[in-house]
């Protein structure tokens, strides 16, 4: 049962944990480190961390160096700089913070500086846990990446910066200052937005051959979504710092980008339709169908990956429990069969017609 911010802060241990998280800033702390810092038992700290995450005061991310561990950070609305009591920081933060760029996650350059062209040793272990479930990307992702004329591509080449990024790493967060245009050479990147309570809505999964984040490159606005690497990725970035130079040198980039924007708009409309006009069961059915017939809308780009109920929940804007119930219902309706480690689609038309 989710608890709210005030309940979360009513407990002194949780306040201590939150302060420690806020003090640790971008580095974050693991449950084990916090337990040592505070001289408390780890199960107790883990319990309180889970409550803080529920309340949207803390954020958990996979440790890029060890995919099985989680690193916790104070949510961006917890003012890390404030040395005062946590309540004060949170009270500030409960005001709309949309205009303040998040400082929680370092801008892409800071994150990636240490990773660029590295051996990726840290990530190779995480690759074992997720990337192996990935098959070649299917689906409608004819974006900037593969849609560019070869000549344009060649001229862009000099500006592109390569990054190897391990699974779990955030590239940028919603509302960060704009980063560049990204191209996925291999791996997968999840783009999502999150609300004040930490609920996440997956917008799209960008797979090999596609690009993402064209919008801020052109309107110079803040990042519209958060990008997190799902499977160890080889990425190329067209850095925004060289934007003017790039646009001068490659004038037809704008034309190519228009095609990409058109695709994005269709994708966004399909997503809005799915989310506003379909019941959860219909959305879950649409995600399942991505595996056999990639289409825009919920779950775009997820086809061919191993999925979990939580991941589907983040795509359809619901909870894991509801997704589990929905899958059981779809099975009772004879549309799918849940087997050992897989879901078999029995009736593609039936699923497509499901609302």
């Amino acid at each position: 049962m989710a608890i709210d911010r005030f309940e979360a802060l009513a407990d002194s241990t949780r306040r201590q944990i939150l302060l420690a998280l806020a003090a640790s800033g971008l580095a974050g702390r693991t449950a084990g480190q916090l337990a040592r810092d505070l001289g408390r038992g780890r199960p107790l700290v883990s319990y309180h961390l889970a409550r803080l995450v529920e309340a949207g005061l803390a954020i958990a991310a996979r440790d890029p160096a060890d995919g099985r561990r989680r690193i916790y950070r104070a949510a961006s609305r917890v003012t890390a700089a404030s040395p005062g009591p946590a309540r004060q920081g949170v009270a500030d933060a409960s005001q709309p913070s949309r205009r303040h760029p998040r400082t929680l996650v370092p801008p892409a350059d800071a994150v990636l500086g240490t990773l660029a062209d590295g051996s990726g040793a840290a990530g190779s272990r995480a690759a074992g846990t997720r990337a192996a479930g990935t098959r070649a990307a299917g689906g409608p992702q004819p974006l900037l990446g593969s849609g560019l004329p070869p000549e344009t591509r060649a001229r862009l080449g000099g500006f592109l910066r390569g990054h190897r990024v391990p699974a779990g790493q955030l590239l940028f967060s919603q509302e960060d200052p704009p980063s560049g245009i990204w191209f996925v050479e291999s791996g997968a990147v999840r783009l999502y937005t999150s609300d004040a309570d930490g609920r996440e809505q997956t917008l799209q999964i960008a797979r090999a051959g596609s690009s993402f984040n064209e919008v801020p490159f052109f309107d110079l606005g803040p990042e519209p979504a958060t990008a997190q690497v799902l499977d160890d990725a080889q990425l190329m970035e067209l850095p925004i710092a060289r934007r003017d130079e790039i646009l001068r040198a490659v004038p037809d980039l704008s034309t190519a980008a228009a095609a990409s924007f058109a695709f994005r708009l269709r994708q966004a409309i399909a997503l809005v339709e799915d989310l506003s006009f379909r019941q959860v069961a219909g959305r879950v059915a649409r995600v399942l169908l991505q595996a056999v017939a990639p289409h825009p809308g919920v779950g775009a780009g997820s086809g061919g990956r191993l999925l979990t109920q939580r991941e589907i929940a983040e795509m359809v804007g619901s909870s894991r429990e509801v997704v589990a119930r929905t899958l059981r219902q779809l099975e009772r309706d004879g549309l799918i069969r849940v087997e050992r480690g897989r879901i078999v689609l029995l009736d593609r038309e039936g699923l497509a017609g499901h609302t």
Binding site: G32, A60, L306, R310, G341, I343, L345, L346
Partner: protein
């Protein structure tokens, strides 16, 4: 809470498909409550000993029947059971 059943010490499962698709346990949120050990109908959730805490659940991918019971039971949302999605034709051989 006492554990009802302690399966044989978990075998070190070789990396491979079975373990790749085994339920994943996010140890940093696991509170070692033992529910997953108790509910697993396949005896696939074993107990492993960790340096910095009493024990942690350890799932044997080869024994796991992917029933989702542990994921459903875990009060911390620490367990996730991955699955693939396939269409019927491809499964009939």
């Amino acid at each position: 809470m006492s554990l009802c059943r302690i399966p044989a010490a978990p075998t070190a499962v070789p990396p491979g498909d079975a373990q790749e698709r085994a339920p994943r346990v996010e140890l940093s949120v696991c509170t070692a409550c033992g529910l997953c050990v108790m509910v697993c109908p396949a005896g696939a959730v074993g107990i492993a000993f960790a340096a910095d805490r009493a024990w942690v659940p350890s799932i044997d991918g080869a024994r796991c029947i992917r029933c989702f019971d542990c994921e459903t039971a875990c009060p911390e949302g620490a367990i996730e059971v991955p699955f693939e999605i396939v269409e019927q034709e491809r499964t009939q051989s």
